[in-house]
Symmetry: D2
Subunit: 284 residues, 4 copies
């Protein structure tokens, strides 16, 4: 049974407590099932002693046999594994607010096929995105900011959940989310912060960077956790700033936000990101 | 008479044969007319001995007086000058073909106000952009590729001219244009090339870069001249490439193209680019 | 009187409270004295309303006349100005400690003429640099770390002052200096911090960056003030970090430190850095 | 038998014709010999269908057993392999000419332990480096440029060979070498070219880049082959150029050369570079 072309190999990811022999066992299973490994990355995290690998497989793979062998390895060695069939497109939900530069960028990338996923819905706490969503025929749920924060969080969570997303992207959605929501989307909810964290956490990072006179500004895409701006970092980038005004600085910073968020989503969709405690390992 | 807010100063650009006293004469005229110079860049090109300056002016400027004095300087010193009223939004025409990543990026930026211009039309030699243009309510003229190259160039020029553009952007429009067209839009027609010129001029730069095993790929935005890939460079950027496949390399390269083209257009719209022979001077 | 070749123009810097007419007055004075301005940068800081300009002058300049006119402008408009004769080489003192990567880099750059200054002395609190200083025939004063902090600061200040430096570079000198020392070298003492401030101020920034899992590490060169890691930033840069070990991360970080420190010194020596309150304006 | 600390794992590299099962066989051998794989990278080159892997091994490795098993794999599967004992420091020879910025940088890095190798000799065709070599107590062989090119190449080759180097670095050695020399040091001779190849191959790349008005300049470190500027690229980097003079451009470019050359040598010394035809695969 062949599930893929050479252009789009199957991806096997596995993780577990570090111990000798994991890669030998896993690659032997792949080979026994007829797979050819065209790319393999393996890392061991020095802080949490976790093992992780990402394996790109082509060839005439006996998938059922591989599943059986990997399940046996799971029981024997305690690893977790996933075999990603990349013909199945993940369901993406975008949450946004008033600033739309990241949303429009993502919509453009989805239109041109740059991001291999299906945008199934947008959730917003501001009406700004309504026109855009209508033009793109994307379902939109508006969850206005209200006085009752708990009710609003509940409404947000229900709106997101109604789309059954595989991945939730906070594209400059500016609300802090409670742990019960972030836990539900652990390592499946990506936020873009407009600074190179841990510099300038919290509000107004661009203004504070401009006032401080930094020479580079940037952006950080990270998985969302209950600790604000503390989630595992997926990608970061910067741009050099000269004697720019604040508004020019914001504009240049938005370029970096667009780019870093899109790149982080791509890394996630390509199964290149593994969470080891508070950090990520990015294969590639 | 005040034509601007502090957020959007007037921009005076001037150029001419290099000679002592030009900046003194021009800034004295600005001061005499009540302007306050908040930013000034002046350069002299070492190859063609041309002088250029860009001056951002706030304050209660007597514009008619300044015009009179600048005209006198023009007659006396041989300089050319322009006073840019940034409340007037330039008219933009985009030309594209089958690859739409740059077009969608520009459309998103226009929607969110990132680019201060009015998109008045799109000209394409492929139908791919039709759906996108319809959704954004942007007039589209399709000029299909035909057997008669001269006729097609004529049709393209007429389509573009019908929109009376101030700026024409070739957003991966893949046809080589004759001198009679590029001359008509001298320093007003911007192309994006998918390499850091002069590396990989011509066709298929990404594939050739991947085959060569380069470690960085990039893009170049330049004004279009009759010499293919030889026009004055406005901006360039690169991204680091690891052991990526060709399709991943193309994808990462498209990120750079989007960014460099948008940045070059912004520099042009901010009157930060001056052409000195085959080179540009970029102020800022 | 000609003080310079075209390769090394004279540099005039001026600063003062922002007001209309400063650039017109200054450039008129330069022109009247026979100078030709080949490069001019002018900025107004938005936070402290200070004006600054940097002017590169060639031609047959009547220097005494220019000095007289600039003094008159100083009295009339309240500006400060300096005319930098770049034939005079500034006196550099380097302070260092146990980590020598920045010192060796600077020594190499001074040998090859990359930095236009004379290294007149090294001050160190560790003996590590002794062999290096001896090989390069550079006077070394060792100020060992003692129990009496005040005495040690006094000894450090005396050691530095004994070389009559124009510029003091803290090349990974790891002691915090009191205000009476930093004030004495205001805008003439440059430190390299091994993070992109304000991220990871204080001790062990590389280890903390590695533990946090950031994807870029960097360095910051800044003028030293009494507030630790808060001085005006001159230059910053970063490098992308993958799944590197801590020691590899430190090594890559040291590359950035070398580069950023050398670049900041060059910008300072070229009179391209102006301090506006807590920020710098860098011309170029 | 333990040959290493955790800080400095053993490195196993292997390459061969791509076929299923290579990684499974090799990692099984490592595990059987008691090794723990803490990092593994495997790639298959799409152009020449070569397989390569780099494995970092810690633990109580039975080295003789592993050697026996790898030899058996070599005979059975046709792979080549090397087990790198990193306690053995490679012998480095540097060849240089009049421009010394790269040499001084490398000398500084060797002094501070940044490069894990022993500098055993310098070969130069200009006397410029003599003083530096004497200060650092590094043996220097001068091979002056003569009228008889063949004789000079012979003298150069003999001078280099007299030091029995593991790695030869052309640190701006400006002579073209014949195939009989480059073949003798295949994948062991690194050159730094002062452009981002394939842009500006040949002579005076900085001047040509400045004349062309490019916005980024760079450098390329590559293994030397008989085809000038065509060898497999190890690393590249760039820096943004504004309205800099030619001499400033050269200075900024030299910063990149220093950095790229040092980084490429480090990658080579860490056994992270594998040559696949005209390209390299860099693990990391």
């Amino acid at each position: 049974m062949t599930l893929h072309s050479d252009d789009l190999p199957m991806i096997l990811t596995a993780t577990g407590r570090d111990q000798p022999g994991l890669t030998a066992a896993i690659t032997t299973a792949v080979t026994a099932a007829g797979g050819n490994i065209i790319e393999l990355g393996q890392q061991t995290d020095p802080y949490v002693q976790l093992y992780g690998c990402r394996i790109a497989i082509t060839g005439d793979l006996a998938e059922e046999q591989l599943v059986t062998e990997l399940d046996a390895l799971r029981d024997r060695l305690g690893i977790s594994w996933t075999l990603h069939d990349r013909q199945v497109r993940p369901r993406l939900v975008i949450a946004c607010s008033a600033a739309l530069h990241c949303v429009t960028d993502l919509l453009g990338r989805i239109q041109t096929g740059d991001l291999r996923c299906d945008l199934v819905g947008i959730v917003s706490d501001k009406p700004a995105v309504a026109d855009l969503a209508a033009r793109m025929s994307v379902p939109l749920l508006e969850v206005p900011v209200g006085e009752d924060r708990v009710a609003q969080e509940q409404a947000f969570a229900e709106a997101v959940a109604s789309f059954s997303p595989d991945l939730v992207v906070l594209a400059r959605y500016m609300r802090i989310l409670p742990a019960w929501i972030t836990d539900a989307y652990e390592a499946r909810m990506i936020n873009i912060h407009h600074s190179t964290l841990p510099a300038f956490p919290g509000a107004n990072p661009r203004r504070r960077a401009h006032e401080r006179g930094v020479k580079m500004i940037g952006a950080t895409a990270h998985y969302v956790t209950a600790e604000l701006d503390e989630g595992p970092i997926i990608d970061q980038d910067v741009i050099r700033i000269g004697n720019h005004t604040l508004s020019e600085t914001i504009q240049l910073g938005e370029d970096v936000e667009r780019l870093v968020l899109a790149r982080a989503i791509r890394l996630h969709l390509d199964h290149r990101v593994m969470v080891f405690g508070d950090r990520t390992c990015v294969f590639g």
